[in-house]
């Protein structure tokens, strides 16, 4: 894409066309959003949705293109979050090694990617629906381990007092910079997934999803491709984990609990697993519900509401909100094509 910008005005129009009006409008709106939004809407809605959208995106990459539905995405993000806390400056009494932030971030994302690849390597030994069971078992076991272990995870209380760093003269903890940080990373990962899905690797992965036996017979290393997809998804989840720990300022076993693991799945499924925009859409819907549905049903019964919405979406539209849109769109197009009376 950056090449296209460099090669003059004619190709620039092509580049704009390639980007599509939808992306341009959405991008402009998101960039201008801080002008109208209060700090609350900027971080609690905007930033939070983008972070969970990235988590959903890491699942969408696996489930949508690879056919592997994972419940361990929050675990991978949690590993990055814990790594930031342990390597950086957490004001809990144990650990907090005080590495510079950029080194800690690189190490955290690397650790997350590695953990994700490992989880992938374990779970790709079986096929289909088994993945969901194995990843759920891994996520739950990690949660209990983090809760019981004090030497590394600091047990029930976890780590607190983690701050987003200040560099280039900007305190990234403030609302606007943090929003732009989330937006930048989300846009980057979104574009990467969109681009990657059309690359040779992306095509191969989708072919493996559709027919692993044929791909194996054609000479492709099916396991290696799947594990590499897990690694890439781990990078995205790891980045989201870093943002999440900066956003919350703390990380505890509750962050990586089973509820959170299922939340990520709900977000991805409600949004839709066919296109990378789906998880972000789902995240926005869920975060908005989380924030405002409390007024309607009360804070206690929120899970019933979200569970019901999830059930309805799964029953009515397997492809989530995107699927609904996909179903309505042809009708709208038909309407406009019809000759007038």
């Amino acid at each position: 894409m950056s090449l296209a910008i460099a090669t003059g005005a004619t190709t620039q129009r092509n580049w704009l066309e390639k980007l599509g009006p939808g992306h341009i409008i959405l991008g402009t709106a998101l960039v201008l959003y801080p002008l109208v939004a209060s700090d609350f809407f900027l971080t609690q809605i905007g930033g939070y949705s983008l972070i969970f959208g990235m988590l959903g995106l890491s699942l969408m990459l696996l489930a949508g293109y690879g056919g592997m539905v994972s419940l361990a995405q929050i675990t991978v993000a949690g590993i990055a979050a814990y790594a930031i806390a342990i390597l950086g400056n957490a004001n809990s009494n144990i650990l907090g090694l005080g590495w510079p932030w950029w080194l800690a971030v690189i190490a955290a994302v690397f650790a997350a990617a590695l953990a994700s690849a490992l989880i992938g390597w374990i779970s790709v030994r079986t096929e289909g629906i088994y993945t969901i069971m194995i990843t759920l078992a891994i996520a739950t076991a990690t949660y209990y381990f983090a809760q019981q272990n004090y030497a590394i995870f600091n047990g029930h209380s976890g780590y607190a007092g983690i701050r987003a760093p200040a560099f280039w003269g900007i305190g990234w903890r403030d609302a606007k910079p943090f929003y732009y940080l989330c937006l930048g990373l989300a846009a980057l990962t979104y574009a990467a997934v969109l681009y990657g899905s059309r690359s040779t690797f992306g095509m191969t992965l989708q072919a493996i999803r559709d027919n692993p036996r044929r791909m194996r017979a054609l000479g492709y290393h099916v396991t290696a491709h799947k594990v590499f997809a897990w690694l890439l998804s781990g990078v995205i989840a790891g980045l989201a984990g870093v943002l999440l720990v900066w956003f919350n300022g703390r990380v505890s076993p509750g962050t990586i609990g089973v509820d959170a693991a299922i939340d990520v799945l709900i977000i991805a499924v409600i949004g839709g697993l066919r296109h990378p925009i789906g998880p972000f859409l789902g995240a926005l819907v869920v975060v908005l519900m989380q924030t405002f549905a409390i007024d309607i049903v009360g804070a206690e019964r929120f899970n019933t509401l979200i569970g019901m919405v999830f059930l309805v979406i799964v029953f009515v539209s397997p492809d989530g909100i995107l699927g609904l849109w996909g179903r309505i769109k042809p009708h709208l197009a038909q309407e406009s094509l019809r000759p007038g009376p």
Binding site: V69, I122, S123, R125, T126, G128, I129, Y130, I132, M133, I134, L136, A137, I138, T140, A141, Y144, F145, Q148, N149, Y150, A151, V258, I262, L265, V269, E300, R301, F302, N303, T304, I306, G307, M308, F310, L311, V314, F315, P318
Partner: protein, 348 residues
């Protein structure tokens, strides 16, 4: 171990076969275990394994916990094996059974009535789930699983609404209270008197119930007509349907038995341990790991898996408290690495 390293050589030279070698290893292990349980330990062994009492208690706790895990996981594995339906609401069924058992026992005063209610109500819930929810999504594994996740979220929240966040304990009847003195000497006092190990009677009864139900399930699967249909369905559902069997009736029966067993286990487990929110996740994890390790759709596999996981959990609890869960995890990973379909699972 040298016997195991050279199985082919011993075969060709007319010595022991691999099977016999395993038999010898098994016998040796059994002998060592029997000695560990019944002999009075020398001091060096006590020094390594904390104390004989701790060790034998961990083993016994592990086995009784395995009984409970088996009850929960056998339903899970039956449902999965026949319907390819990963019912992630299975933990919720356990917890609901426990709450119902608590209510019934508390109101009527009869514990056995509570146990029966736990089984019966959950069996009905299971049939309702199968008929009204899962049958509509037949053949779509992923959506069935997603729906079961949705159900578990809603169920957990509604149970929290009804029974709040407190911890309940189902009171067991008097004839199940008390302790059993086992013929196991834990120590010898300085005056020469032996100290025998005592163990709660209730836990022994739970184990016995699990064994009886396990044998009963096995007999049902292998000796009755319905069992034959179920096994045929596990192997080839389409063929079973083609030969004129009403598979939906078979599915409903299996779901009723599976969910009922989860409810039964809920009451039994709620009497031994406690009933609280979050237990659903714990028993779901146990079922998942037991079934992954033991092999999907196999009752024997569920028994072996439950025994491994129960023992690992309790021994881990005694000897490396904060890393206990890792032991469970390692068992799962090693099984997946060596035998992805599980110990008793069939490769598909």
């Amino acid at each position: 171990m040298s016997l195991l390293d050279r199985p082919s050589q011993t075969l060709s030279s007319g010595g022991m076969t691999l099977r016999q070698a395993w038999g010898v290893v098994g016998l040796l292990a059994a002998a060592i275990l029997a000695w560990l349980v019944f002999a009075v330990w020398p001091d060096w062994l006590n020094a390594i394994l904390i104390s004989k009492k701790a060790f034998v208690s961990a083993i016994l706790n592990g086995i009784t916990l395995a009984g409970l895990y088996f009850l929960v996981a056998s339903g899970f594995t039956l449902i999965f094996g026949l319907m390819r339906n990963v019912n992630l609401a299975h933990g919720s069924l356990y917890l609901l059974g426990a709450y119902i058992g608590y209510e019934v026992t508390n109101r009527t005063g009869y514990w056995l009535l509570g146990v029966a209610a736990g089984f019966a109500v959950l069996a009905i819930v299971g049939v309702v789930m199968q008929v009204f929810v899962f049958r509509r999504l037949e053949g779509d594994d992923l959506r069935q699983t997603l729906v079961s996740i949705g159900i578990s979220i809603v169920a957990a929240d509604l149970m929290l609404a009804v029974w709040a966040g407190g911890t309940y304990q189902i009171t067991t009847p008097e004839w199940l209270d008390g302790a059993l003195t086992l013929p196991v000497i834990t120590a010898v006092r300085s005056n020469g008197a032996s100290v025998f190990l005592t163990y709660p009677l209730y836990r022994v009864v739970v184990l016995a119930a699990a064994i009886v139900i396990g044998v009963g399930l096995w007999l049902m699967l292998h000796k009755t007509r319905v069992g034959m249909m179920i096994r045929a369905g596990v192997d080839d559902r389409a063929m079973l349907q083609a030969s004129g069997v009403n598979v939906h009736a078979v599915f409903a029966i299996v779901f009723a038995v599976g969910a009922g067993l989860a409810g039964f286990a809920g009451v039994v487990g709620g009497s031994a341990l406690s009933v609280a929110p979050g237990e659903d996740v714990r028993y779901l994890l146990a079922s998942l790991v037991v079934v992954i390790v033991g092999g999907m759709g196999s009752i024997t596999g569920a028994a072996i898996g439950a025994l491994l996981i129960g023992l690992a959990e309790q021994i881990g609890l005694v000897y490396f408290p904060t890393y206990g869960i890792v032991l469970t995890f390692v068992i799962m990973v090693v099984t997946l690495a060596v035998r992805p379909q599980g110990i008793m699972g069939k490769a598909r």
